[in-house]
Structures are given as structure tokens and as C-alpha cells.
Amino acid sequence: MKYIHQVALIAGLGLLATVGTAAAQFGDPREIPIPSLGTVEIPDPIRYEMDNGMVVMMVVDHEFPIVDAQARIRAGSIYEPAEKVGLASICGEVMRTGGSTKVDGDALDEMLESLGASVETSIGQNSGTANISTLSEDFGTGIEILADLLRRPAFPEEKIDLAKKQERTAIGARNDDPFEVMQREFPKLIYGADSPYARQTEYATIDAITRADLVEFHHRFFHPDRIILTVYGDFDPNVVKAKLNQVFGDWPPATEPPPPIPPVEFANVHGNFLIQKGDMTNSFVLMGHPGIRMDDPDYPAMQLYHEIMGGGFSSHLFNEIRTKRGLAYAAGSSAGAGMAQPGGEIFFAATQSDSTVATLGYIRDEIDKSLANPFTADEVQHAKDGILNSMVFQNASKGAVLNRLALYEYHGYPKDFLETYQNAIQSLEPDAILDAAKRNVVPVEMATMLMGNPENFALDLASLGEVNEIDITIPEPAGEEIPIATDADMERGMGIIQAMADAAGAKNLGKIHDLEISESGSFSIQGMTLQIGLETEKLLPDCEKQVQKTPMGQFTSAICGDVAWIVQMQGPQEMPAEVRMEMEKSQVRDYLGLLTNYASMRFQALPEPADVDGRQCDVVYVHSESVAGWKIYVDSTTHELVQMEYRDRSMMTGAPVNAREVFSAYEPIEGVAWPRARSVFHDGEPLAEIEVTSITANTGLTKDAFAMPAQ
């Protein structure tokens, strides 16, 4: 017994005397006297309204030589147009990075960091904030900068472009962190994907944002009478008042009332949803439905309910899932109630993959139990003690009190909201909590979301009934706008392609059984030029094997029906799914694929002809589900295929790029015109010049050539 071992050890070290009293020392912790708590001095902020309507709240605290100020502005992403999601956030970002019409953003960075100060601006869902923190002696400079940014942001194009670029990057990476996926997707379920409270940025909504939008958004929302400014720290209130008057005093108030807050509409979606995320080694389990605001009469009862259900170490969910079964790293629940809009009644766990479905069962059982019988008086008392005893921390720092009161004012809550809440908590009985829970937690109304790799779930998902999959694939960045097709456009499109196929001798394709093509390519990669040899074998219609001979080594890839493999340095292996997808796309759109399959494809002629290297071309847009934004340029006179434009992935980074491929030097093989030269451009930069060195038809190739080699 280890405990005995401990005691023996202590005794051995000559501390026996203290051990004798040790047992007595550690008596029942509940019997330790708790003296009454000293009074909490709640600071009463200085509050006044400037002539232009700006509300100022200040609390002085001289302990450290620092001053913090925050402006809270009535703006938010809930007000941005649906086709420009991201506008508010980019506006908040560029206000800071772009600087003002007086000082540009980069100069600001230098200036602030030299002062050890910071100024940050951002616009969230239902409010914008601008914060400064400076050493006391620099506060004057800090507040001048803040006022300048709020009143006269410069919004330079290059910083807008940078912010948009970063936002596009964020879109591309938005599925990396499973937690982020969960936080994004669940609100979409319960509020609806298009709700201002849940919608997300897309490449298209970011692309749609212009400088004029930012200027307009700022003009619409940034007015002194829609700002609450708090100042906290080491300063003289009279000096600060004068300074605020100097920097904000001549800012005229808004001429119109603020726009109404868009209503929250509940999607009323229930049922089971799955997000497949193959790289997760654990799972998230969530269930819930929309909830209440903090000013709801049931708010105190629901806080107690969630404290007991999922609030901490002694909560039901934590005990059942983590403590008893060791299944989860996290388990809990929350009312998520907001001051401005309803939150969600949410129950969740992060668990190991194989117990995903079982964990959901445990959560459901606990919810059912919590709605069948009242919690015990002991449990309720424990939860009350926890909430009430920790209340003192709400007032533990003057800065925290100031922030709290400013938030109440911003959202229209009474100053004594906390005290009222405290009294309500004190008087709640178990039955009242049960009643409130029955009103506010409705299992049949809940959406259930599982996220992870279902291959590793031990229990079959089917045991849950119908499961709808949520596709989180990130849509490709939009290409250029294609006009809506008329029947005439489609007819003309097919005509152009038919003429191209006729001119190319597509009718002779039947004479070709297989092809062996040798090409030599010169690739420009990061300023270097690499010579790459390509040996391609094609067995018509859809088997293809290619050996790439590069200075770094030889790479082989092959695809033929169900068989798809690659050989790299590690030897042969199945072709990874994403590589295969890219290969299949390129097979659809390459020259041979087009000639072979054009009859079953849909083409839209675009109204304007185009000039490609001095040749006039008709332009056709291919409507294809598998290949986005694909355009074909056909010589108007000779009907030769001149150029294709399509979305591809960068060879080096895999990032999406705009590819352009130019075909020339046609020579016939078995009566089919074949381009002997190709030039490839990525995002306008030359990538490769490829020439056919030999091409032979009908060598007697068989499917055997496409079998995966042994390890």
C-alpha cells in the first residue's frame, strides 16, 4: 500500500513528530471555518455623454502605470449583405492595418511598438471594438491614434487586397482544425446556413468586396452617438476629458437611426448529421437546439441546469463520460446565452473514435434523466454555492467591472443585472429548475452532429436511424462570370466544337487502338529550368500510363478503370485519392478526351471572340460537373484547337491556379491531327514548353501494361 509507504518514508527522515499531527491536520475539509468575506468595493464609473452623443465611462486605478481604453461601436457582421460576407471583418482589419489619412498603417506599427503600446480594431458579429493600451505617459498619443482610425480610416487598396488574400487563405484552411469546423457547422444547422448569425465567408463573397464597400460600411456605422468609450487605469479624469473633447468633440453625430438588429430565425432542423473527417483520430459529438437570451426569465434556472449537467468536474456529463468511463477528453453542456441574441442549448463531448456512437447514447440518457426528475437538493445547493461564491470574481478588478457595465449599457441591460441574477439564483428550488429545463430543453427538436472518421466508429451509424452527411468540401474559387446560356448559345457552342472535331479528323479515332508518345519538356520552376522527359502510353479510350523523368528521379503514374497507382521513390503504391481526382479531371479535358467524348458534353458559345497570339478564335465554355471553369478557344478560320483555360493545382504547392495551355504544330497520326507542341502557363507565368519527340500508334498495347508492378 503506497500510502503506508509514504508515511514510512517520512518517518525515516525524522519527521515523525509532524506525522503524528498530520492525520489530525487533514480532517474534514468541510469543517474548516469560513469567516465572512470582506466587503467588495464595486467602483462606480464616471459616466458622461459628450455633446455629440458619445458615451464615456472611466475608472481610475493607479496601481500600474498603464491606461487601457476601448471603444465599442454599434456595427457588426449581422448587418453586412449576404453576397459580401466578410465585409465587416475586413473593414475592422483594414481600419488598423491601413492606418488613417494622416498616418499609414505600417508607420503606425513602428510608432506603437516603439512606445510599447498597442491599438487594435475589429468588427465581430454584433459589435465593433477598437482598443488601445499604453503606458500612462503615452495615453495622449494613443487616444489620438484611436480617434484618427475611427474617424478617418484610409482603407488603402493594397491593405484591402492583403486582408482579402489572408481571408482566402483562411477559407482554404478552415477545415484543418476540427474544433473550428464544429463551431462553424453547428450554428449553421440550428440557425440556418444563410442566417446572419451562422453564415460563412466564401471565395465569392470575399471577391465581391471592394474598397467602396468598406468606405460605405464605415460611413454607415461609425458615428460618435453609436459608441461607448471606456477608459481604465492610471490617469487624471479631467485631463482625459479634455483630451477626449479635443479628439472627438468635433465629430458630428449620425443623421439617421441605426439599422434594426436582424431577427434570429430558427432553422428548426432536427435529426442526425455527420461530418466525415478522415484525418481525425477522435470524434466530436454534439447535440442541441437554439436557446435563450440572458434577459430571459429562465436564464438563472438554465444556468443552474447547465452547471449541474455539464458545467464542471461534478457535472453529470463529465462524471458519466469522462470520470466513470474515461471515454472523453472533454464533456459538457452550455446554454450559450448571449446578451444580444439567443444562444443554443448544447450538449457535447470529444471522445475516442470507437466510442462515438456510444457516447452519444450516454449524452441522450443524461438529458432524458435530467428532464424526468428534479436534481437532488444537494446537487442544486452545490451548484448554487459554486455560482454564488465565485460571483466575487465578477468584481475582482475595477477593469472587469467597467467592462461589464459598458456591455450592459451597450446591450440595454440594467446596471444591477448581476445583482438581480444573484438573487434569482439564490431562490431557485429543484422543481423550478426542472420546469425551466422542460420548457427550454426539447430532445426531439435537437440536431445531432457527429464529426470524425466513421470507419473507426465501433457501433454502426445506422443504429441512429437516418444520418445526413454534411459536405464541408471547400468550393473552388469562382472563375470569371459566365453569362447565362441561351439555347442559341448552346447550339452555336456545339457547332464550333463539331467543326473542330471534324477538322481534327475525330472520325478516324476508331483507327487508333493505342498510342505511345515521347515528349520532352522544359519546366520553369522557381527561377530554375528543369528538363523533364515524359513517356506516355494510352490505351483508348481511358487507360493512361505516364513516366516522368526528372533530374530528381523518375515518377510513374497509371490509371485504367479501377486500377490506379503511382511509383515514387518508396516504390509502387495505390494512387492517393486526391491525385486520382486530379488525373481524372485532366483526362476529361485533355485533347484526346475532348475529341473522344465531345458528343456527350455541353458547350456554350461565349458572345465575344478572342485574339490568341494573333489568331482570332471562337470561345466556348464547357459545362462540366467535374472540371470547373473550363474554356476552349478554336481558330475561327481553320477550326484548330488553339488554347484551353482551366483551373488546375500548382505543381509545387498544390494551391489552385488558373492554367492556360496553348496547342500548336499539328501533324496527323492515323488521320487524326495531333498537336506536336504545347505551352503551359500558371497564373500567367510560363510553366512549361512541351514538344512531342515521337508518337506511334497501334503498338499492340494491352491492359496488362497498366497493372500495378509488384512491390
Binding site: 503506497k2 474548516i32 468575506l37 500600474f64 487563405t169 482554404g172 477522435n282 475516442q352 486530379e582
Partner: protein
């Protein structure tokens, strides 16, 4: 209960790695620190702050992931979890019976593990049978457990920020309470540091394994795991804090006791209390409740010194996620007299929006959406890494990031830092330092760390002068010394290459 990596703590918490402040400004604060030592060697620091009726504390244990040995990785963190499980008087309704039941659990596990060790000769049926017995014994031990009583007690009493974290260098336990709960705190904290009971060990082990999976689910987590492993081939910094899954699956309660016996001795620990308390009363309560913490020898430290690699080490992960470029340069540990110069070097490169690399990579060349950097990865006690990491914009190429980085480093080594730049990073450090001491918990943590890791809390207030004394020439000198290709490790996440 989380783990900390020095790097992340320093960057994300802001000011966890404390730096400069004008020494004159802190004389008053310094004079308010009361220090006393119990007979067993346990050091206490107390600062009275009566602004609000609350206090915070930290128990600092100078032991972390770096003190683990192969095969038992993750034990420092595992023990930290166990310190929330209670004592003979908290967390059970019959300790005597529970102790016997826990012994049975250990025996059952040991029997199972013995069979498992036979490898392919292990008898599958017997394994099943032994596992069933092990589970049965756990059920039996559970009978006597009052689940999470320690945490529940604290929750009832209004605890805030109840947590602990284990890093490579050290472990700390902390929370805040209303100030009328001072004696309750002393009773609970003294008890668990004196008489911990490692109940529910094998259930908690699964929780920690789950935490490991959580980390593996993140591409960034996977990359930094491997950067560490590549940078520290010999030194235990390479292993990280969380432990290998295979080790975690096999660690035993006995392993946790061994770790406790060696490292949780009074001379290796510091307790710091800051808030609305009376220092005299803290001393009396410390005598009463902490005198039983075992004394012992300050344990030996890691001997291994990472040999020079003599070559850059590179690793590339192909992941369909945001691309990352990370580079680490080996630098000395925080006891090096020039350490502040390394720190300022890191700041010049990568701290703040006007730092050299932020300016180039994020603003000018627009290759990265965000960068992070600084010294102290993954810890500071021993020689560690000055790291710079960039999260790439969608169309950017890791090779271009590397080119810019080398370009900037070359310039820095050639031309040194400007006087304005030096002033700026010193001021930034001073401001971060002041902000870090504003909260009770922040001050407690800093004092305890300087006492526990550097042997004297007063050094906290000296670092300010040391930072102010660093010259541009010193920074240029250390830059030339460490920012060399053959002194670096590079980790990259790039998109899977597709066949063209």
C-alpha cells in the same frame, strides 16, 4: 489540465517569458514580496494585495517532461492529472478498503502486462481473461471513490481558474478563491502535495491517451511534434510533454509514484500566494498544512547535452491543410549570461507587426498570413530553439518563405540592428512585463517561476536591467553565432504533390 510548450506559452499568453522593465519602477513591488521557508525546505512567497477579497496561488514544481526517461514518457503530465484525484481524506468514503482495492488493481494490471510482454507468444485467451480481471478489480476499487471530490469542493467554494499545466521544464498548479477560503486552500493544497492518492489511475490514463489523440488531430500539432524530435535527437526535449501512445498505454501507478518520490520533494517546490491575505496567517497555515511535504534532495538534472548536428535537418509533411514553414535554431539555455541577447534577437526578427520578418513575409511579400517567433521552444531551462513559424497564404510556396527568411537573416548578420529597433524591442519587453504582473495570478506565476527555476525570485526584477544592458553589437554577435544553416532544423507542411 493542459500541457504547455514554452514557445506557445510565451507567444500566446503574452509575456510568459518575462523581460524588461525599468528597475526603478518595481522597487515598491519588490519590497512587498515576503519570503519564508519551512523546515522541510519548502519556499513560500506572499504578496498582499487588498484591492478585492480574493487571492490566487501557484504551486510550482521544478519537474516536467524533460525529467522523464524512455519508456515512461508522459508521466509528468499524467501525475499532474492524478493530483486532482484527492488524498486519504478527500475523494473516498473508506480509504483503508480503497487502498487494498487499488493494490488489487495494480496486481491485476501487472499480471496482464507480464503476459503481454511475452509478445507473439502471449496467450490470447489468457490475455482476455486477465483483462477481464483487471476491469473487475477497477470496478471494485471504484466502490470507495467519491468522484472528483477535490474539484467539487473547490467549485462549491467559488474557485476560479482551477487548473494545472505541465511543461517540459516544470509543472504548476493554480487557482483563485475568495479570500475567506484561505485556510480551506491551505488544507487542500497541503494535503494533496503531502498525501496524494493516485486513485482511478488507469481510467485517467485513457483520458490522457485521448488528449494525445486530440493533439494528433491537428496538422500543426503533428508538425511541431516532429520538429522537436528532429531538433533534439539526444536531449529529452525532443520527446515533448504528452508522451508516446505506446508508453501511455503501459505506464503504471508505480511509475507515477516513482516520479512523485523523486521530484515532489519540498526543496524542489515553491508556493506563491498573491491577493487579499495576511502574510503572517499564510505562514501559520503553511506550518500547519505544508510541513508534512516530504523533504529530500533536490533531484539531479538532465545530463545529456544535444550534440552538434553539423548539418541542417529538414522534414516535410504532405498534408491537405494550410501550409506551414517553421525553422528552429539551437541556442543556449536561460542560464546563459547572453540569454537576453538571444531573446531580443528573436523579437527583432519576429515579435510584433513591425518586426523584420512580419514586415517582409506578411506585409511586403505577402507569403504568410501570420508568423510567430521567439526563444524558449520547447523550454528554457536547457539549450533550446529560437523558432520562427509562418502560416502560408494559399498561393505561396514554402521555398519562397525560406528564401526571404535567409535573406533577412543575412542582412541582420551583416548590418546588425538599428538603435531605434533595439529601443523598440526593449520597450515592448518592458510593457509586456508590466502587463504580465497586473493580475494576482500573473504575479504569483512569475515570482514562483523565478524562485523555482532560477533559484531566486529577485531575479525577476533584475532581468529588466539585464535586458536594458544588451547592446546592438551583442545581438549581431549572437545572430552570427546561431543563425547558421547547419545549426537549424526546418519543418514544412506542404500540399500533397500531384502528378501533372
Amino acid at each position: 489540465m493542459k500541457r504547455i510548450l514554452g514557445f506557445c506559452a510565451a507567444l500566446l499568453a503574452g509575456g510568459a517569458v518575462v523581460s524588461s522593465a525599468s528597475a526603478s519602477g518595481f522597487g515598491e513591488l519588490e519590497s512587498e514580496v515576503k519570503e519564508f521557508k519551512l523546515d522541510n525546505g519548502l519556499t513560500f512567497l506572499v504578496v498582499e494585495r487588498h484591492e478585492a477579497p480574493v487571492f490566487s496561488f501557484v504551486t510550482f514544481v521544478d519537474a516536467g517532461g524533460v525529467d522523464e526517461v524512455p519508456g515512461v514518457t508522459g508521466i509528468a503530465h499524467m501525475f499532474e492529472h492524478m493530483a486532482f484525484k484527492g488524498t486519504p481524506t478527500v475523494g473516498t468514503d473508506d480509504y483503508e478498503k480503497e487502498a487494498a482495492a487499488m493494490k488489487a488493481v495494480d496486481d491485476a494490471w501487472s499480471a496482464y502486462a507480464d503476459e503481454l510482454d511475452k509478445g507473439y507468444k502471449a496467450d490470447a485467451l489468457k490475455l482476455d481473461e486477465l483483462m477481464a480481471k483487471f476491469k473487475e478489480s477497477q470496478e471494485a476499487a471504484k466502490e470507495f471513490v467519491v468522484s472528483n471530490e477535490f474539484s467539487k469542493l473547490l467549485e462549491e467554494n467559488g474557485v476560479q481558474g482551477l487548473n494545472a499545466s505541465t511543461g517540459l521544464d516544470f509543472t504548476w498548479y493554480y487557482y483563485s478563491l475568495p479570500s475567506n477560503r484561505l485556510e480551506l486552500w491551505a488544507r487542500l493544497e497541503g494535503d494533496r502535495m503531502t498525501n496524494p492518492v493516485l486513485r482511478e489511475f488507469y481510467v485517467e490514463r485513457d483520458v490522457v491517451i485521448e488528449e494525445r489523440r486530440f493533439q494528433e488531430s491537428s496538422p500543426t500539432g503533428r508538425l511541431f511534434d516532429e520538429v522537436l524530435l528532429s531538433a533534439f535527437l539526444a536531449h529529452p526535449y525532443g520527446t515533448g510533454v504528452i508522451g508516446y501512445t505506446s508508453d501511455l498505454k503501459r505506464i503504471t501507478r508505480e511509475d507515477a509514484w516513482d516520479f512523485f518520490d523523486k521530484y515532489y520533494v519540498a526543496p524542489n517546490m515553491t508556493v506563491c500566494v498573491v491577493g487579499d491575505v495576511d502574510a503572517k496567517e499564510v505562514e501559520q497555515l503553511a506550518q500547519k498544512y505544508f510541513s508534512g511535504v516530504r523533504t529530500g534532495k533536490d533531484p539531479r538534472r538532465v545530463r545529456t547535452i544535444e550534440p552538434e548536428h553539423g548539418s541542417e535537418i529538414r522534414l516535410t509533411r504532405e498534408e491537405d491543410s494550410q501550409q506551414i514553414y517553421a525553422i528552429g535554431y539551437h541556442i543556449p539555455g536561460s542560464d546563459d549570461p547572453n540569454y537576453q541577447a538571444y531573446q531580443l534577437l528573436g523579437d527583432v526578427l519576429a515579435s510584433g507587426r513591425s518586426s523584420r520578418l512580419y514586415t517582409r513575409l506578411v506585409k511586403d511579400d505577402q507569403l504568410c498570413s501570420q508568423i510567430f517567433g521567439g526563444v524558449g521552444f520547447p523550454g528554457e531551462k536547457y539549450p533550446n530553439l529560437l523558432v520562427v513559424a509562418g502560416f502560408l497564404n494559399a498561393d505561396a510556396n514554402p521555398d519562397d518563405v525560406e528564401r526571404v527568411l535567409r535573406d533577412e537573416i543575412e542582412k541582420l548578420i551583416r548590418d546588425g540592428v538599428t538603435p531605434e529597433e533595439l529601443d523598440k524591442v526593449k520597450t515592448m519587453n518592458r510593457a509586456a512585463f508590466v502587463r504580465g504582473l497586473r493580475s494576482n495570478q500573473g504575479l504569483a506565476n512569475q515570482l514562483a517561476m523565478y524562485q523555482g527555476m532560477h533559484g531566486d525570485w529577485k531575479q525577476l526584477f533584475e532581468v529588466t536591467d539585464q535586458i536594458d544592458a544588451v547592446t546592438a553589437e551583442e545581438i549581431q554577435k549572437v545572430a552570427a553565432e546561431v543563425l547558421r544553416k547547419e545549426n537549424s532544423v526546418v519543418g514544412v507542411i506542404k500540399k500533397p504533390s500531384t502528378a501533372s
